[in-house]
Symmetry: C2
Subunit: 659 residues, 2 copies
Amino acid sequence: MSSDYKTQKGQDFDRAAFESLLKRKVFLWQSFEPYGAVKGLFDYGPPLETLEAEVINIWRDHFIRTEKMMALKCSMLTPFEVLKTSGHVDKFADYMCKDPKTGEILRSDHLIKDVIEQRLLSDREARGEKIEVAEEDPKKKKKAVKAAKTAVKLEDAQRKEYEHMLATLDDCTGDDMGALIKKHDIRNPTSGNEVEPPVSVNLMFQTQIGATGKEPAFLRPETAQGQFLSFQKLLEYSDGQLPFASASIGYSFRNELSPRSGLLRVREFLMAEVEHFVDPESGKRHPKFHTVKDVKLPLLSRKTQNEGGSKPTVISIGEAVETKLVDNETLGYFLVRIMYFMQKIGIDMGKLRFRQHMQNEMAHYAADCWDCELQSSYGWIECVGCADRSAYDLSVHMKATGVPLQVREPLKEPYRVEEWTAALDKKKSGPKFKKDAGKVQSALDALTQDMREKLSISMQKEGKVSVDVPEMEGGKVELEKDIVSFQKESRIETMREYIPNVIEPSFGIGRILYSLMEHVYWTREGDAARSVMSFAPTVAPIKVLVVPLQKDAKFAPLLSHLEQRLDDDAISFRVDQSGVSIGKRYSRNDELGIPFGITVDYQSLEDNSFTLRDRDSTKQVRASLDQILEAVAKMCRGKESWKDVQGRLPVFESEGKEE
Amino acid sequence: MSSDYKTQKGQDFDRAAFESLLKRKVFLWQSFEPYGAVKGLFDYGPPLETLEAEVINIWRDHFIRTEKMMALKCSMLTPFEVLKTSGHVDKFADYMCKDPKTGEILRSDHLIKDVIEQRLLSDREARGEKIEVAEEDPKKKKKAVKAAKTAVKLEDAQRKEYEHMLATLDDCTGDDMGALIKKHDIRNPTSGNEVEPPVSVNLMFQTQIGATGKEPAFLRPETAQGQFLSFQKLLEYSDGQLPFASASIGYSFRNELSPRSGLLRVREFLMAEVEHFVDPESGKRHPKFHTVKDVKLPLLSRKTQNEGGSKPTVISIGEAVETKLVDNETLGYFLVRIMYFMQKIGIDMGKLRFRQHMQNEMAHYAADCWDCELQSSYGWIECVGCADRSAYDLSVHMKATGVPLQVREPLKEPYRVEEWTAALDKKKSGPKFKKDAGKVQSALDALTQDMREKLSISMQKEGKVSVDVPEMEGGKVELEKDIVSFQKESRIETMREYIPNVIEPSFGIGRILYSLMEHVYWTREGDAARSVMSFAPTVAPIKVLVVPLQKDAKFAPLLSHLEQRLDDDAISFRVDQSGVSIGKRYSRNDELGIPFGITVDYQSLEDNSFTLRDRDSTKQVRASLDQILEAVAKMCRGKESWKDVQGRLPVFESEGKEE
């Protein structure tokens, strides 16, 4: 797979070398290494932690400030009931099989895929095909070697059945997978043992609030639920006006059964989620859509995918919405804003596409859904999901709690309604039903218009009616004439009540950071050992490398002055005073992605001038300290490019090439 | 208590009014309200979320960038073993008593305190004293009323015993408290039931990683442990040079049994923790101490507290370190940096003090510890702890894992050492002990020099020795001459190995934010209903309020131009176009703490000039758009004050006072 994937300079991407750089420069590592690292948990070292902070600040600026979103911070610990209502307790699960002898837990789909792929590979071996293992993963290589030893040829029909299985595995239920495992004698590949049938395992981390045992809770699997439950506060803050959007940057958790793929599948991750609330009757128009309608995006439609294609069509968002390829303006507006954000942080635009969800990928309530996918050596990976969740979440929470999570606004044109009412006589029902009186009222409230009309007829005939009250003993109650009355009433409806629809762009920050690191990685021509991380100056973890020409006490006062000035301008920097050549010092700091270098040399002592070096081109200019700092500050704010700077400041030719 | 506490203008602080503002302007609320809010969990609405982000950015700039700290992000989910080693599994606990009839869980110290205070109150009632309940808490008022009904007079000796109990409660063990509860018949005040004896309950949230049940884990109670376990990576990144510091901004968790005091005691909270690693033989000097040595701080020493005083001494940090009041330069340097940080974000310097820990407050390994306390209506609250943790954490993790968490550096002056060695003959010991060979070697390695010498004598005499190996069956092993040899060797030691000491400033961000909100709250003179949140422009959640004089389509193009310019300068703003008077619009946005207002009026249409209003003084200037925006940008970056701006731009007198 990785062989298709190239660096920004068109070189073959060498994942082993890339990972070695990440390790050497402490970008990240598995957590708790001294205790035997835990899978699916990662620590970020200084370069990656700071990169994340820069990316988050751009996200805040690009979405929260510019779009006037309401920033929210909600709790990670979430009571059982909330996630029961949202559907996560029942549906946020994977199927797993247990190896009863070793106690090992295997994800059912992974198990089937691994075993069947292995058999197909073995078949090709047996047929004398040359097997190339493109994967860097040494485990896979090992398996391939093992396969070669015991190559088994398959019947043609069998091979076809296996291929079909792999293609349709995503649509399988747990029972389906259980049947496949039995039929094809699929066993734990490491032990050779038969496995137990698939069972559904919830992927949320469970815990308890307090010490009573009465408050079961989970770590949230998404930040969205907290935002939905805050809806009334947000509506208040926006003076009752829709549309508006909330935004949360926070952690979510997923208890992966067997995490793979490094940063792309982790158990604890930072998300940035927007919930944009809109009146469903507004056509989901967006007030700023006209400002983006001519922007072109690479859109891979459901249709193209159904036809087996994978090449996106580049088309303006205006056209896409007009032709209903993208469901509505608000969704379209966000797709453009997402692309702009990716551009700002330095994502390679040739490695970005928007893919529409297939019908079976979407939640049943979703109207449309597009993923922003970034290409990396792992393939095309979903990094932002942009879904129309309709009114689902607000509706279920409102139903479960009775708290109105809706908008109430005056109708432009009030109208007359005729309605059957069902009123309980409080004075009589209270003493009769005592604490159950509320349940009876609720049961009456829940009756449809039809039912009320029918009951009014029964009441006239028989003087009493029987009403279902499932929460009471016996499940029903007899009501007599004097205790309840059914009447047809006519009134003027002046208010409209509706549950807003929600468009949700949801960003996986870790995946975006990982993709970004792959996108900016390349090696100098002719020297694969000299690698560079070309972080844009706006996001680079450290902005400036300061290198005195050599160790000489004479430089100390000037260095100290330079450091003070950089501090005053809030520009982060690193001083490299080690004894090696300037070229070498630049080279090893290129791996940290420091975009600019300032050299302090003997001429600096004479005229207070400095050279400024650009990491990507290794070109230099020479100018006064003020000019250099101004240029750096502007480039770090994205207000000027190196090309601009090189055009207006005197170019400096150093003697010879950088070592 | 709250009656001593004043606003920055010297007014009595009205907590009810303050909390009503926080609610009205959606600063925060208890999480999951529609499901019946969960205690100890809070959501932040737009103003507080953004305030936090601004404060964190200043923290990053003030500590991480300026002090060149290594930013780290470590996992929240933490394996059991890690926290077993750190001592949290055994010691991070509170005592609780269960009411066996209701199932209620009561914190033992709270229970004793509540009941005994109640009895003392009742006694004062009975003696005819007038009881004033200063607390706003309606529950306490209720209790007081109840007490009045059943006032019981105490014997003098009894009263003294109770007073002594309250004063010494913090030093009680679980058994002590159990004895007190029994002796004084302390019962659950809400039910009147006897309670079970105190049991220790761990305060960490427990969960499981994966589905095997073999990976118990906790949510971390502090960010520090992840930083300690990353020590080797950090040492590498700093090229082996000490001192250096790591810094983490992240969430920690504490499963409070019965949370009280709003934001001051929560179950999920943001911390910013620094771990500064230093050579213990360096005298814990700090290279930048000379830059702060004349800075004066309010220090409340242990001695003063022991003498019953509570007034801090204002003294320069240089003197404090010299007189050993503050243990060392590094601790002293951080106290100053903490104070500067608090100043930058707008904390009232009259409500800040540093309090030294009493001997019984400190962990057994701590060398010295100072809290930065901020005063609020809840009293003086610890908001930053600044402790010298010595080499404790690195040592215990190194011991538990065998992974070296230490520094190895060449000695300046190599020296000769004579040492007894104890070497196992691998060829013979392997076959003899098989898998236990390692245990035997470890037991030998653990022998002191003295022991080795003694064993060498035994060996000479008897030809064999007996060595304790607690991990083996039988607990000891016989070793013969041919299998182990004890020899006195002399060698030149060229390397030094040591475990660094750690100075740890640890910030509770939520407590700081809450204190800050209290510090900036006040009401306009003569109108208690007009409250103001005087956030410094650097941290204010929204920087500018834009108010068009009145609803008039003529203003639209100019408004749109102004909004574009503010966006270009990345200045957050809010437009208030509602129909009410300008004064009213300013007034209600003062509650959000927006520091500046720009009015768009008819003159603006003529000459593109605008008035700029200062929230705190309500003074105004009038100038061109460029001038206004430049002034706002500078004030928001902390580079200019309103006084400066008022001095250089033409003052604008509006007609009449603001409504």
